[in-house]
Structure formats: C-alpha cells, structure tokens
C-alpha cells in the first residue's frame, strides 16, 4: 500500500508550467527524497499534496484519501516558509496548532508536555516565542510539525538553516518515524542528507520526472569502474599494470581508471605484494554528481 500516489498531476501559473504531468508513488514506511534544483516544482507539488493549492489536472491520493484539511490531520507538514506566532507563548502556540489538527484538549496538553521534555524546552513553555533563540524556535517548529503524531511527515527543505545539533535531532525524528512504520517525504537540494537518509528518490526538473527509484538504482547507472586508493611510497608502477587504463593523482589519493573487463580485486591483489595500502575503495559517483549530471542533461 502506498502512502502517497500522484497521477499525472499538473499545475500552471500564468505562463509557467510549474508541475508537468508528474506521477509518483511513495511506499508506506519509507523515507522518500524529493530532489530538484530551485524552481523545479517541488514546493508547488508539496502544496498540492497538502491541499493548499489545487492542481489543474491529475489525481492525488494521500493515506488513501483525497487531500483536504481532514486528511491533513494525519499529516505533519513543515513548509519551506515557516514560522510561528511570535507574540504567543510556546504552550499557547502548540495548543492552538494541536486544536487545528483536530486533537482533543487533554491529549494535546499531554503531548505538548512530552515533546517539550524531549526537546529540552520545558522551562520555556510559558515564554513568548520571540524570546526563544533561533535554534530553540527550530526545535519548536519540529514539535509543531509532529504534535499530532502524524502517520505521514512532509518536510519542505527541512535542513535549511539548521545547526548541526538540530540537524541530528531532525534526522533522529525522521528515522524514528520510519522505525514506527510511518512515512517521511522531504524535499531538498542538499544531497548529503538525501544520500544518507533516503530509501527512494524522485528527481524532478522543470516540473518533470528526471529519475524515480532507489539510491542503488540511481547509482548503478553510473558505475565508472574506477578505484580510489591511498598508498604509502612510490606508486609510479601502478600506471603500467595490465588492467589499468590511466591514473590521476589527487592529493594523497590516487584515482585509478580500470580497463573495461578488469576487476578491481585484481588490482588490489597486484598492489598488496608491492606497496602498503592504507585505503582502497570502488569509486561510486556521489548523488551530487549524478544530480548535476542529470539536471544538466534534462536542461539540454
């Protein structure tokens, strides 16, 4: 069962086709990365999923329902443009948002107390939001997003502006959600986080799908049959080995391109007898490189 289904969803603003016949499926219990350069249509798509704007055509189904504010009660959404009522107290803001998410008063106040404890904001409960530091406001924003114990977490550029502590905190929340069988969808153009967290990736550009699949799938298309090694001593002989096509020195590291039929293990065996090997790994293209390559291709 898929937590989210998009079928040929399209949205046009004046003359700009923001989202163009986009289809995707987000499996329940996964962390799903929604990647693309600025202006690719990520935020527009997320807003349509949240029923904040309506698609021109196509079908959206979230947690088995058509998007509306009732369905949204089971979703935690953190938009890219985010903030809270500055003049309200921490407790009042959370109580208000919980009520809008359909929570009963008592359940809400228990959850609020629990989350303020987890985020070490307990002493700030009755202070105004504007008195909190930026980092504390970010934590509060996380609480506001998950206060209704959502089955589906949708985050738009969640990592922008986070300090390392809050970054870890947010990653922890996402992993715990997946551990509890819930679904997480986030958009980003920071590839490291996507690489680290995502089970599935949807890469879009100009409103259209560029790639849709798992991290391994996207990488397998970019096997380069190359190795990066860190060697002690004179490594000049490596270039002349039979399986090697060429070598490049990159600081302390040596990048070795292998001939097409050659296996990296042959190279390793050939090295071990003659020189000290400190590090040896198959060169896998980073998501960042693939991203730049794919987006560049689709722009042509």
């Amino acid at each position: 069962m898929d937590a989210l289904v998009l079928e040929e969803v399209a949205k046009t603003f004046s003359a700009v086709r923001a989202v163009d016949q986009l289809s995707a499926r987000v499996p329940t219990g996964s962390i799903y990365g929604f990647l693309g350069p600025n202006g690719a249509g990520k935020t527009t798509t997320l807003r349509m999923i949240m029923d904040i704007i309506a698609p021109d055509s196509g079908r959206i189904e979230i947690l088995g329902e058509t998007p509306d504010s009732k369905a949204n009660e089971r979703i935690g959404y953190m938009p890219e443009e985010r903030g809270l009522y500055r003049k309200m107290t921490v407790r009042d803001v959370l109580t208000y948002l919980a009520a809008l998410k359909g929570m009963k008063r008592r359940a809400a106040s228990q959850e609020i107390a629990r989350w303020l404890g987890i985020m070490t904001l307990k002493d700030w409960a009755d202070r105004k939001v504007e008195e909190l530091s930026k980092g504390m406001q970010q934590k509060l924003q996380f609480i506001a997003t998950v206060i209704n114990d959502p089955d589906f977490l949708i985050l738009d550029e969640p990592f922008s502006g986070l300090d390392p502590v809050n970054l870890d905190l947010l990653e922890g929340i996402m992993l715990r959600m997946r551990g509890a069988g819930k679904t997480v969808l986030f958009s980003t153009h920071v590839m490291e986080q996507a690489e680290k967290l995502c089970d599935f990736i949807l890469l879009i550009n100009k409103g259209k799908t560029v790639f849709d699949g798992t991290l391994d799938q996207i990488r397998s298309g970019y096997k380069s049959n190359a190795v990066v090694a860190e060697l002690d001593g004179d490594a000049g002989f490596v270039r002349d080995l039979p399986m090697v096509k060429s070598t490049t020195v990159n600081g302390k590291r040596l990048e070795v391109a292998l001939k097409e039929s050659a296996d990296s293990q042959e190279l390793l065996r050939a090295l071990v007898g003659r020189i000290r090997v400190r590090a040896f790994e198959e060169k896998v293209p980073s998501l960042h490189e693939i991203f730049v390559h794919l987006v560049g291709q689709s722009n042509e």
């Binding site: 807003r47 949240m50 029923d51 904040i52 704007i53 509306d68 504010s69 949204n72 009660e73 979703i75 959404y77 953190m78 938009p79 443009e81 985010r82 903030g83 809270l84 009522y85 500055r86 208000y96 948002l97 009520a99 809008l100 998410k101 506001a144």
Partner: protein, 419 residues
C-alpha cells in the same frame, strides 16, 4: 465548522485581551459619558446656581423713568433672588456717551454695565445704550433680561399716558403658551430638536467607531501571519476560507462586545439626562442587524487587502480610496438626519459600504421610515456580504502565499476570476 470556531476563539481572545481593545472599551465611553455628565452638571450649576449680584449704573436722559425702573427691577429681584440686578443712578447724568472713567470701571468689572436711557424713549424716539463687557453666555442672558425690564417699565409709563390701567395692560400682554407635540414619536411624547439629532449621531458614532476600531485587527492579524511565515503552517491544518471566516467571526464577536458596552454606557448617559426614550427597541434591533452585516462586509474587504499585502503601510495605502467613502456619511450626517426621507439619504442608503451607517442614521432620525426601504437595504447588504466574502476568499487563497510586491487592483480582479 469547528475549525472556524477554533480560529474565531483565538482571534476573539487575542483581541479582547489586547491593550488597545481595553483602551477603546473603557476610555472612549468614559470620555463620552464623562463629558456629557460633566457638561450637564456644569450647565445646571451655572443655569440654576446663585450668582453674585450685578450692578448697573443708569443715566436717565428722560429724567422721569428712574422710579419705574427701580420698581421693575425690585419686582424682578424678588422673583429671582439668585440673580440680583442692582441699579444705581449715575452721578453725572447729562451725557449720552460714558466718560472714560465709567468705561474703565466697566472694563475692570467694578460695575457690570452702564445703561443710558434715551431722552424721548416714551414717545418711541431716541435709542438707549447698554455698555458692558461680555464675558460669557450669562452676560447675554442678563442683557435680554435688562432689555425686557426696561421695555416693561416704559410700556407701563405709556399705558398711564394713554389712560390704560396697568391691570388691563397686564391682561393684554398675558403670555399664551404653545406646546410642541411630535406626532411621529412613539406615544406622542415631547421631543426637542436637540435630542432629535443626538440619537442619530449616537448611533452613527457607535456604528463607525465600532466597525473600524476592531476591523483594523483583521488587517493586522492577516499581515502578521504572513510576516511571521506561520501562514503556510496554519494552512496545512485548515482551508484558507476557514481561516478567513474564523478571523472574521472572532473579530465580529469582539466588535459586538465593544459596541454592547458602549451602547449600555450611552444609554445610561442618556437616561442620566432623561432622554432614554430616544433609544427604541426597534432601532436597537436594526442597529445589531446593520452592525453585523456592515462588519462582515468591511471585514471581508480588509481580509482580502491584508492577504495581498506584506506590511500595514502597504495595506493602508491600498485602503485609502475605500476609506474615503466612509467620510461621506460623517460629513453629511446632519443633512441626512434633517431630511431622512430625502433623495440624498435614500441614494446613499443603497451604496452597500455606506448602507449600515446611513440607514441607522435615518432610522434613528425618522422612526417611521418606510419598511420597504429597510428590508430592501438589508437584503442588498446581505447579498453584498455574500459576494464580498466569495471574492475575498479567492483573493485570500492566492494572496496569503504571495510575498513581494503587492498586486495592483487589476491583478486582484484577475485572482478573483481565475483562482
């Protein structure tokens, strides 16, 4: 529906707890009521309280009237012991115009006035003069009293010359009182000009201040939600229409609270002056209907404008032309209250933004206003409210997520048509 109420409750409480609301709630009635009560007490005191005796120096060029004056003033003083006017004959008495010394005495307040009676006044010739320094209203009242007493005394003298007994003269001059009865007022009660205009003005003031003091908050709260970027967080939990409706309902509640307090204070102040009769149950009922509809109409316009803007300043400059319209009834109120059935009043009643103010003014000024016009204006207003809310919801939906340059009027209309 329940989400609308959650928003309404928050907006209501936030508004009611704000300092500016408390100031509006308490200070304005205190100023108005206090002003009325104070003014009433002061006038009562100065009208009825004792005043020091006034001294008037008289030069009688006719050389024969002084005794008549003295008896006339004595009679007056007996009837008005708190308003004594003492007349003294002048020492030098051969000149029509006062000497510098006398002028100085009047100016310094040593004597209150210098009265010169013309030589042939009994024959109806020559003028008399009353030299004084007018300091306040009471001095004017005193002048007319003196004028009356002088004329009475001279008339008396003439009656003797014509051989008419003073008794006959008194009978001829006996005052016939004519009382004004207003048939349009309920119970054919007495109505003075003053109170006839007070009630309409009271209602107009209540409507204007009540609608605008709280309604400004619609603008502020939408813009605040945009600025603090909480808007999209909220919109993930409820629809833009629910948000807008909740705000308007909550603030309308705060507005009703405000005018209820003001209304009670005003009624109390009116009854203090014995004028509670001017506020009728039906005019109160109409007030509530027009107030709610008027509030909703203006609130929807403000919500749309607020959603399209990023700062209060932008919003205010966009609202300028609209606000201009509301000056019209404030400027023309006297005219409308004087001719509540006139063409001007009727035409203005059917401009939706003005309907509440103009209609409540007319109803208060003219309780027998045609029911057809009342019903028609309420219907027109209700339809306008629905249209305004529909259009505003569309602008709101688009506007709340727009940042940057505020849209032109043309763009706003496009939002209404296409979104």
């Amino acid at each position: 529906m329940s989400k609308i109420l959650i928003v309404a409750q928050k907006e209501f409480l936030e508004t009611v707890k704000s300092k500016i609301f408390l100031v509006n709630l308490i200070i304005i009635p205190i100023l108005v009521v206090g002003g009325i009560v104070l003014a009433t007490k002061m006038t009562k005191k100065s009208m009825e309280g004792p005043r020091p005796a006034k001294t008037i120096v008289v030069t009688d060029l006719s050389n024969s009237l002084l005794p008549d004056f003295e008896s006339a003033f004595q009679q007056y003083n007996k009837a008005n012991p708190q308003r004594l006017i003492v007349i003294k004959p002048a020492i030098t008495d051969d000149s029509a115009s006062p000497t510098q010394q006398v002028k100085d005495e009047v100016l310094r307040g040593k004597i209150d006035a210098y009265l010169v009676i013309g030589k042939n006044v009994v024959k109806g010739k020559d003028k008399s003069y009353y030299y004084t320094k007018t300091r306040n209203m009471m001095d004017l009242v005193q002048f007319s009293t003196v004028q009356r007493l002088v004329n009475d005394a001279i008339a008396n003298r003439r009656s003797i010359e014509y051989n008419i007994s003073p008794q006959v003269l008194a009978n001829i001059h006996r005052w016939v009182s004519v009382e004004q009865v207003d048939l349009s007022a309920k119970g054919e009660g007495k109505r003075e000009e003053f109170t006839m205009f007070l009630a309409p003005f009271f209602f107009l003031f209540l409507m204007f201040t009540g609608v605008f003091s709280v309604n400004q908050q619609v603008l502020t709260s939408v813009i605040e939600e945009k600025n603090s970027r909480v808007m999209e967080v909220i919109l993930s939990a409820l629809s833009p229409f629910q948000l807008m409706a909740g705000k308007i309902v909550g603030l309308a509640g705060a507005g009703l609270t405000l005018v209820a307090v003001w209304g009670v204070a005003g009624y109390w102040a009116a009854s203090f002056r014995g004028m509670s009769g001017i506020v009728t149950v039906s005019s109160l009922a109409y007030f509530v209907i027009y107030y709610i509809l008027g509030f909703l109409l203006i609130a929807s316009v403000l919500a749309a404008v607020g959603s399209a803007c990023n700062t209060i300043k932008e919003a205010q400059s966009m609202m300028m032309p609209v606000m201009f319209i509301f000056i019209i009834p404030m400027v023309l109120w006297f005219n409308i209250a004087q001719h509540p059935d006139g063409l001007l009043a009727t035409v203005l009643s059917f401009i939706p933004l003005l309907t509440p103010m103009v209609m409540i003014l007319r109803i208060a000024a003219h309780p027998e206003l045609s029911p057809l016009q009342i019903v028609a204006s309420i219907l027109l207003l209700a339809v306008s409210v629905l249209i305004a809310m529909w259009a505003s919801a569309k602008v709101f939906r688009t506007g709340v997520l727009m940042y940057g340059k505020p849209p032109s009027l043309r763009e706003l209309l496009r939002w209404v048509r296409y979104s």
